[in-house]
């Protein structure tokens, strides 16, 4: 079984390297990149973010290869794929967190509401206020719960009075479904919460600045099933107001929370489509291998 996978992989790689033909415009069903195809429709009707020809290099090593996809407004899109395939790397391009890695270079086009986020006149500080992020490991600031939430609004100057700030903090915690648990202990350190509570605190912190897009990198990987269920529920609610991109290793989770799914493999975007279709009827051999558990 493992030999099949290996063969498929090498065949694909060879195909990728051999060809130098110009790539065609993205098509409806199959996007053809230099002989390699992204199976599925990469565009959506009302895109929030549009990515085209995104290449990411760590030094000389290419981690993302000519990836193009749309992220629709108010949808939850899941990135899945085997470890090391570049999901996190691609996700971090969307709010330019990769800028902080000296060796990392991003080329191509990523648009947020028709604005190139890598354009010179874009301020990353403002961009990250619009595209928030929740990390794999809960990372609350070692400050009080209140301060954790208040930090973002404060540095962005979103509130003027203490009363406004109090309300915003309360509201964010409420939307993150955490308010009942922390109402009485706002001044305790955020790190004193349980792992799942900490992660919801991080989500509350992200939505406190009212972003348009929220990026989540395996937000539940450090949590137990109950805490995970809470977060998934939360993601479902947040979809009403936000666009959410989630990286996950759990197929079930992708199937539960997302509307669209993108499958990455060794830096390539192999297949993208409605979550239902990807999980019930994958059209690419690699996707099928992965979701049926024969791989990764």
């Amino acid at each position: 079984m493992s030999t099949t996978v290996l063969e498929t992989q090498t065949a694909l790689d060879q195909a990728l390297q051999a060809s130098t033909a110009p790539r065609h415009k993205s098509s409806v069903e199959v996007t053809d990149y230099n002989n390699r195809q992204t199976v599925g429709k990469i565009t959506v009707d009302n895109p929030k973010m549009v990515c085209r020809d995104v290449d990411v290099f760590y030094g000389a090593k290419q981690a993302i290869k000519k990836v193009g996809l749309d992220i629709g407004a108010n949808e939850v899109i899941a990135f899945i794929g085997p470890s090391g395939c570049g999901k996190s790397t691609f996700l971090r391009c969307l709010n330019r967190m990769n800028d902080t890695i000296a060796s990392c270079r991003v080329t191509g086009q990523i648009m947020l509401d028709n604005e190139d986020i890598y354009a010179k006149e874009i301020d990353v500080v403002q961009l990250r206020a619009r595209v928030g992020m929740v990390f794999q490991k809960p990372n609350p600031f070692p400050k009080s719960i209140y301060e954790n939430i208040a930090y973002g609004p404060r540095i962005h100057g979103m509130v003027n009075t203490k009363a406004e700030l109090d309300e915003l903090v309360h509201d964010s915690l409420e939307r993150a479904g955490l308010i009942k648990e922390v109402e009485k202990r706002m001044q305790e350190p955020g790190t004193s919460l349980s792992g799942g509570q900490q992660q919801r605190l991080c989500i509350a912190r992200a939505i406190a600045v009212n972003p348009e897009v929220i990026l989540m990198d395996e937000p539940c990987s450090a949590l137990d099933p109950i805490a995970t269920a809470k977060i998934e529920e939360l993601i479902d609610e947040l979809r009403e107001n936000y666009t959410i991109v989630i990286v996950t290793h759990s197929m079930q989770q992708a199937a539960r929370v997302s509307q669209r799914t993108a499958y990455f493999h060794l830096g390539d975007l192999i297949e993208i489509g409605d979550t239902d279709q990807i999980f019930t009827n994958p059209r690419h051999k690699l996707t099928e291998d992965y979701i049926t558990g024969r791989f990764g």
Binding site: M97, Q126, K137, N139, P142, G152, R205
Partner: protein, 438 residues
Amino acid sequence: MNKPATGSATPPPSRNIKAIVHQNLARRRAAERRFRGYGLVAITLGLAFVVLMFGNIISKGLPAFWQTYIQVPITFDSTVLDPQGARDPQALANADYATLVRAGMRQLFPHVEGRLPLRALGGLISSDAAYELQRRIQDQPELLGSTQEVWLLASAAVDTFFKGNIDRTLPEAERPIKDNQIEWLDKLKTSGKIEKQFNAVLFQSGDSREPEQAGIRGALMGSFFTLLVTFLLSFPIGVATAVYLEEFAPKNRWTDIIEVNINNLAAVPSIVFGLLGLAVFINFFGLPRSAPLVGGLVLSLMTLPVIIIAGRAALTSVPPSIREAALGMGASKLQMVGHHVLPLAMPGMLTGSIIGMARALGESAPLLMIGMVAFIVDVPKNFLDPATVLPVQIYLWSDLPERAFVERTSAAIMVLLAFMILMNGLAILLRKRFERRW
């Protein structure tokens, strides 16, 4: 043995493995025991040396915290102090107080006659006694004309004798205290007019040629001003450098060179910094010699690398997840550092700085080069007054043969060690108090 060739690949019977393991086990245990033995011996030796050092210093230095005083009836005779009767403070200040002391002593021992015995009698009291009386009159002019019992500082020889450090069985010529003086002292003792009191002089006055009048206040103030300059310079510069190098500077050849140089600077012998300070601050910039300002500058040069290295270590120990969280919230790099990284790294930086400062406090070699080794009686009042520092004072006193100075040397070492322990304790406290909270 007669198994086929392929059989050799099969593992030997388990009985053998057990035996081999058992054999090795004994060896391993023996090695471990030996190693623990070495460790114990090393620790015992180390502790023994520490105990020896402390025991020696404390046994020598403790007596210096008490000083011998003699109670003398002093008549503040206005015909001596104020012949004009004008009560002019200037004239009062310059009056002949030594006569009062001599008169007081004669009153104690009225039968002493002759120039030499009288001189020996006066020699029991320190020359500081006259100044003491002058200070009293200055503070309370109404004492004029009255007679008071005053505790006067005894001379160093008397102090040494009274502390039992002079053998009275020695031939008279070989001891600083003569037979008639011993007789007087014994009388004083039986009448309770001589006693040891807390040695406030040690903490109140500067250096002196007379051991009973010598104190460490000058050196303490010198150390204080020097360290203040050192801290004010090296802490902000060190922290700023560490933050810049760790958080902002690009990682390239230049920053590598800077880093290597900083690490090398930390290992440069301190006397070299003294030479540098002499050449740059005194000869080139023309700053005064012996000044705490220059001492502080020199010690800053020495302490900076330590603070920078400790600061960078403290910064790297802040987990990257905190940085990502801040950046992910849209904080600028400066905000990330200022709001999150620096506060978390601060205890570590402070700890490093305090340890650096403690090292600077104990440093003497570079200060010798810039002239902070002079004999300075006055207590320095600012950064430009000539001064010396505690370790240099110790060095100076350790050269003097008088028993009283030997005592004071150890006492000064005790004070220095106390400050060191205090500073290191503070560093440990900080470290414990702000143990990582993430």
